[in-house]
Amino acid sequence: MTATPDRIADGSYWPQSYTLGPIMSGEPCCVPKTLISVEGLSPSYSGKTALENVSLDIDGGCITALIGPSGCGKTSLLSSLNRLTDLIPGCRLAGRIRIDGEDIHGVDVNVQGLRRRVGMIFQRPNPFPLSIRRNIEMPLREHGMSRRSELDERIERALRDVGLWAEVRDRLDSPALTLSGGQQQRLCIARAVALEPSILLMDEPCSALDPLSSGIVEDLIASLRGRYTVVIVTHNLAQARRIANYAALFWVQNRAGTLIEFDQCRRLLEAPRSDITAAYVRGHRG
């Protein structure tokens, strides 16, 4: 029985064939339950379609990798999930995205609340030009938290979660931009995590970092499994293999990005059903 988005969605595929290989061994990452449901999504920019009719269901608590060559719409899908596409002039979305059953484009949706629940990490680390402490504190205050003790506790917990606490505890008030690239990226993750989101979107979070920092951030992302639903865009297939439970391969067909295959990550990489996937994961194309 093959894994198709439909079967994953209706549960007929799960959980008997739950084989994720050595990295994934041990207890299952999660009870598979759809958290994000994308139906017929087609984002377009000033009339140019970036993605054509994409439907997939993303399970809660798992890491889902979006892979494929540049320009195939992975980032468009990612930034549709927290409605960051609203910020791009000329961007229109067709289709429906539901998170926890709620349509994120519904009339009564509070976009700021949605983005608090759906955090995002960008390719280039983008800590604000404030102190390390203020980087985490300011969004918390904006979302209504003002008790000093509560704030300090949240800040420490977030920094501990990303393994940054020991490195910065003595200099919380120094500028965040004095941190190294890898530390900055972890601070950005801490900043998002402090808001207690349920979903983290990551757009090639390691690609602007040196190999060592990249490894540290990758381990951190892997450790988030189970606590957060992570959707990560990556060009690094080895990374996807190491950390992702599921993978979706996108490809440009008829000048628009298309979802080619969506499956368990190891299955997609090792026994792809589509020729395009096979060629891509073996490095023949893309």
């Binding site: 983008n126 030009p129 404030l130 904006e142 500028p175 931009l177």
Partner: protein, 291 residues
């Protein structure tokens, strides 16, 4: 062999380089020399007149003797009024241009065009407008308030344009980052964009202050040329450049005082500019670079 492959002789290249260097250096030296000459002239003719009492006493005998204390106070108050009015208006307009309206859209082009026209209007025209609008129509009369408001209109285009470009220089990474954290636009603006653009905002403010302090024509018709110490915003007051103009044009034997006052003005401008550079450096270092 085609010509393009033949390099010109080394001697020719050398001569060309030397000529270019000579041209660039002489142009720079010429500019520097003009400033040095101006400063030397002011120092030579005015420095002898300047002492503590010149700065702290009132002018006597139409400014031929005595000091410039009331004039300094009037100048300061006029500039403070102008900046206090223009800075918030300018910042708000810059935010509209850089953050709200669509880049290259009709609104942006229309506002941009009016700003550029406004920036090109001679100050004497602002003076006439200020006189007609603030002094007569609003009934403020010849007053420091009317002068300050007129100057505010005049420096607005500079403030808006520098603040706008400062805001545009802030990388989009931070805008997207802030939006992705669910920050409101107001919070993004106050907490991130304006602090990040602060050095540019400050530079624009200093340009505006410099322009306001050195203004003559717009003030002659609005804040007037009474050289008494002003007692309120509704009093007429003589700004320093008006004082210089009056001394050199209308007062026989007032040249030395005019030079001394001009020297004071130049020193003030240099001080303001240095303070701006120093402040901008501090802001940049504190927010962005290493401590």
């Amino acid at each position: 062999m085609p010509d393009v492959c033949v390099a010109p002789p080394a001697a020719y290249l050398h001569v060309r380089d030397t000529l270019l260097r000579a041209a660039v250096w002489s142009a720079t030296l010429l500019v520097g020399a003009v400033f040095a000459w101006l400063l030397a002239d002011l120092l030579g003719q005015g420095a002898a007149r300047i002492d503590w009492s010149f700065l702290t006493s009132a002018p006597r005998n139409a400014g031929r003797s005595g000091g410039i204390a009331p004039i300094l106070v009037s100048t300061l108050v006029v500039v403070v009024v102008a900046i206090a009015v223009a800075a918030p208006l300018g910042l708000a307009t810059a935010v509209l241009l850089a953050e709200v309206v669509r880049r290259g859209g009709r609104t942006e082009r229309l506002i941009g065009l009016s700003l550029d026209v406004l920036a090109g209007i001679p100050s004497i025209v602002f003076g006439l407008f200020g006189n007609a609008f603030f002094c007569i129509w609003l009934g403020l009369g010849f007053s420091i308030l009317a002068g300050g408001l007129t100057l505010a209109c005049m420096v607005l285009p500079i403030l808006i344009r520098t603040a706008e470009s400062g805001l545009r220089m802030v990388p989009n990474d931070w805008r997207f980052g802030a939006a992705a954290l669910g920050l409101s636009r107001a919070a993004t603006l106050w907490q991130i964009l304006i602090p990040a653009a602060a050095p540019a905002l400050l530079a624009g403010l200093m340009l505006g202050i410099g322009r306001a302090m050195a203004e003559t024509a717009a003030l002659v018709f609005t804040s007037g040329y009474v050289d008494r110490m002003p007692s309120s915003l509704w009093d007429s007051g003589r700004a320093i450049s008006v004082h210089i103009y009056d001394l050199s044009m209308n007062v026989a034997g007032g040249d030395q005082s005019a030079y001394a006052s001009a020297l004071v003005l130049i020193v003030l401008l240099i001080m303001i500019n240095s303070a701006a550079i120093w402040l901008a450096d501090i802001l940049l270092v504190r927010r962005i670079k290493m401590i």
